[in-house]
Symmetry: C2
Subunit: 506 residues, 2 copies
């Protein structure tokens, strides 16, 4: 169909514009001179506007008017049909939001961000709370452009985790919380794990040298990626063959840099695995924040923190750091990296406590949006939940409600659920892969990850955004989202570290 | 005037688009994954088209129709008047060239470049000569869109050195050649200079550490610049407060990296000195390739290779490299860096022979464009001129006509003159600054460059592209372009290295 070809050409230009946004963001975080910060904001605003205009252009509407009926005559899973419906969805969504609203909101977030930086430094919530209250109003207004939602947070969650309604997530997260809180209590009463061996001097260049070996083994294609540095590591796709990520290296801890690189590599492997037939279309991306996080967590935790992985890599790490690790048995090293300790900071949390940080934020977002909680009372609500769930005393607001940037650069609502969906899903998907290929763990002990990588590529990566999160979970695992494999994984693994650990059956 | 405000807003968007081109180019040369090369070409083509469309948009024509008469009522040197006439000129120029022509030519150059890479590797000119012949036809066609020129090369030179007609440059370059050829002959008969002290092992990190000290002294604003690495160093402006350049470091030669950094810093200082009132307009750039090169050469040669500079910095360099230079007297080091030796390669040429490389290329461009020389005979003509002017035997075409990328990525014509205009001008401008501030050289011996830098900023940098090259030379020096200061500089300086050197009076 000729029109379909014009549609693809049009989308290519749309994706070109979007690629400039990604390049500007990448550059801003890795290379840009500091004095250019304000102008970079302008550049981003300008190109975002052009991109938005390209999407909601009447020409797009005319094409869709003809293409949508045609798509119904095609197989439901065909690329053409999926692409047309995805674009139609994005088009409709973009048209529902007044451009003036988004522009005003961008201006607002720039102010909030700057104030947050100050407030955090000064450990002073009231400095930013009036602006945060405005953010809450913006967030509600955003939701109001999508009437008919079941929960006011749904349209906000939909921005990054489409189809993951509050009605699905809330019970799931409550279940998870009920399992995790007692686990933490039990661990707290066990003998603490000794982390000393990790906390020696590990020169940066040598760490990087080891990390490169690991990335090569897990299949990160160097001709299509680059790795750079930034204080908050991230991954970004600039084009089908241009996927970038950053890491950070601590000179006095040996696993943080590696796991941060493996985490971002997981995101990168997802994007690198997308089929070239989706390049230049809005399907050239991972499905959702939850599915993306499932891949970063899978490679970081299920691979990178597994005994099998270290059976192969620990001798290699020892030979890179003979003075630091030559006399440290693998078991000591392995236990050290599984040290569990409830703390204030989400990004430094271990596997067990991490999800509680997320669930607290998710619950507070819902309470704020539904009016059950006032912005003024947020620090106190935060403090209470940390005490209750993690047994942690929050004494400084900078380590409390001001710790994460999310609410201060974007809407309130939909900011955190992806992290926990990702953790839960990572186990479901890893289990599914192992059921088909029981050799995966054995292969890992030989430094081989091809079978796992291929399964993920075939079943998930190659499809880009062709399917929804729900469809994808069903296709890849034959089941719906479930916390059972995740709880099983945590329990079995951490029982080898903390022998008194058990699941509390209700 | 309200329309003028709309005009400025429109230009801001035009400059935004142009800034994306520069970011794409920068990224391509410093960070991009190799596999993205083809798509980057597409991205550049796409954004170049948008930028061109923005310039020749009927809306621009309508604005100019009203603004041009208004501009005539304003002082001739006012920003408003200069900006309107610059934009009008760019608009007219852009409208004269059919977009289809430029698009075809971009496609052509992509092919030529790839073939040139192969031809150079295989040392085989005939592989690329048919494509080069096409390039010559494209170059003539380009000129034909500007009927009324005096010399067919003029419209091509105009692209980077506006107003520098063949009628001005040819006699100037002939004069220069007549002075330089005998100088080289005299140096050839002198005792050669010993370069051994430069050619030791100088670790990269230590070289960089020294370079940073130098850049800080000459006034490169770190908050508005970054330095990266690339095999062919270059400078590029991404925005008013975002100026970037690269360098390369040779571990077995200590001056190449420094002088490459000072050269690119000279370009950067020019761009960094542009007045913020020109930001977001097409006047936010250096005037011409010749004026830009005058600044890179001034900082590289007149500052960086001066005795005064090293009086301050040599002890510092010695303390960075005590084992390599601790026992080397400054005079030995200074003489070593002024080693003159005719060779095949332009980019490695010394101060004396450099311009002959340029003049040979300039003359050959004219002969090709006027039909006096056929593309087939180019290698032989090249060989003859190198023998005649430099006494150098070109045996390999890869070190001859295939050495520079210019003709293989762009038009033939207008590619090289800027380098020699720059050399000539650097001395005129340095002399002019010294006449007003006789203390400049003395200050340099104390590592102080502020007086020089301020004079250049006030007289040249701040004005961006507000004036033409000819106007600027006149304003800053009170004279027209002249080779006399340059010849005087070379003779006086190199007489201290090669005592038999003298100017041959005709």
């Amino acid at each position: 169909m000729e029109l379909y070809q014009s549609f693809r050409s049009y989308l290519k230009e749309y994706i070109n514009l979007e690629s400039f946004i990604h390049l500007l963001v990448w550059d801003q975080s890795t290379g840009m001179p500091t004095a250019n910060a304000d102008y970079r904001g302008e550049q981003l605003g300008f190109i975002s506007r052009l991109t938005h205009e390209k999407l909601v252009d009447p020409k797009m509407g005319e094409m869709l008017d003809q293409l949508i009926p045609w798509a119904t005559t095609l197989p439901a899973d065909s690329l053409e049909s999926r692409l047309i419906s995805e674009v139609a969805k994005e088009y409709e969504k973009a048209r529902k939001i007044p451009p003036a609203f988004m522009e005003k909101f961008f201006g607002h977030t720039a102010r909030v961000y700057q104030t947050w930086v100050k407030a955090r430094k000064q450990n002073n919530f009231t400095l930013v709370s009036p602006l945060l209250r405005e953010t809450l109003e913006y967030s509600k207004e955003y939701a109001s452009y999508f009437p008919g939602y079941h929960h006011i947070a749904d349209p906000l969650i939909d921005r990054s985790d489409e189809g993951m309604y509050v009605s699905i997530l809330q019970p799931l997260f409550q279940d998870l919380r009920k399992k995790l809180v007692p686990m933490i209590e039990q661990i707290r009463q066990s003998e603490p794990v000794d982390r000393k061996c990790l906390l020696q001097h590990y020169p940066k260049q040598k760490q990087l040298q080891f990390i490169e070996v690991v990335l090569d083994h897990i299949g990160v294609d160097r001709s299509r990626t680059i790795q750079d540095f930034s204080p908050h590591p991230f991954m970004i796709r600039l084009a089908g063959d241009d996927v970038r990520f950053t890491t950070r290296i601590k000179e006095w801890e040996v696993t943080d840099g590696l796991f941060s690189s493996m985490h971002e590599s997981g995101h990168a492997l997802y994007e690198l695995g997308i089929s070239p037939e989706l390049f230049g279309t809005p399907l050239m991306k991972g499905i959702s924040s939850g599915l993306h996080e499932s891949q970063s967590r899978l490679w970081e935790n299920l691979v990178g923190k597994s005994r099998e992985f270290w059976e192969y890599f620990y001798p290699k790490l020892q030979s890179v750091f003979p003075t630091q690790l030559g006399a440290v048995p693998m078991e000591t090293f392995y236990r050290a990296m599984h040290h569990v300790s409830p703390s204030e900071i989400r990004t430094e949390a271990d596997e067990i406590t991490y999800n509680l940080h997320v669930i607290i934020r998710f619950d507070l977002e819902l309470e704020l949006l539904t009016g059950k909680l006032d912005v003024t009372d947020l620090p106190e609500a935060w403090r209470q939940r940390y005490k209750e769930d993690l047994g942690v005393d929050i004494t400084e607001v900078k380590d409390g409600v001001l710790q994460d940037v999310h609410w201060f650069t974007d809407f309130i609502g939909g900011q955190f659920q992806g992290y926990s969906i990702g953790n839960i899903l990572s186990c479901q998907l890893f289990d599914a892969a192992q059921q088909i290929h029981p050799s995966i763990k054995e292969e890992m002990t030989h430094g081989q990850f091809d079978t796992l990588h291929s399964w993920l590529k075939t079943n998930i990566y190659q499809h880009g955004k062709k399917f929804s999160t729900t469809e994808m979970i069903q296709r890849a695992t034959g089941q719906a989202l479930s916390i059972d494999p995740y709880i099983k994984y945590l329990t079995e693994k951490y029982q080898t570290i903390y022998p008194t650990l058990h699941i509390s059956e209700e």
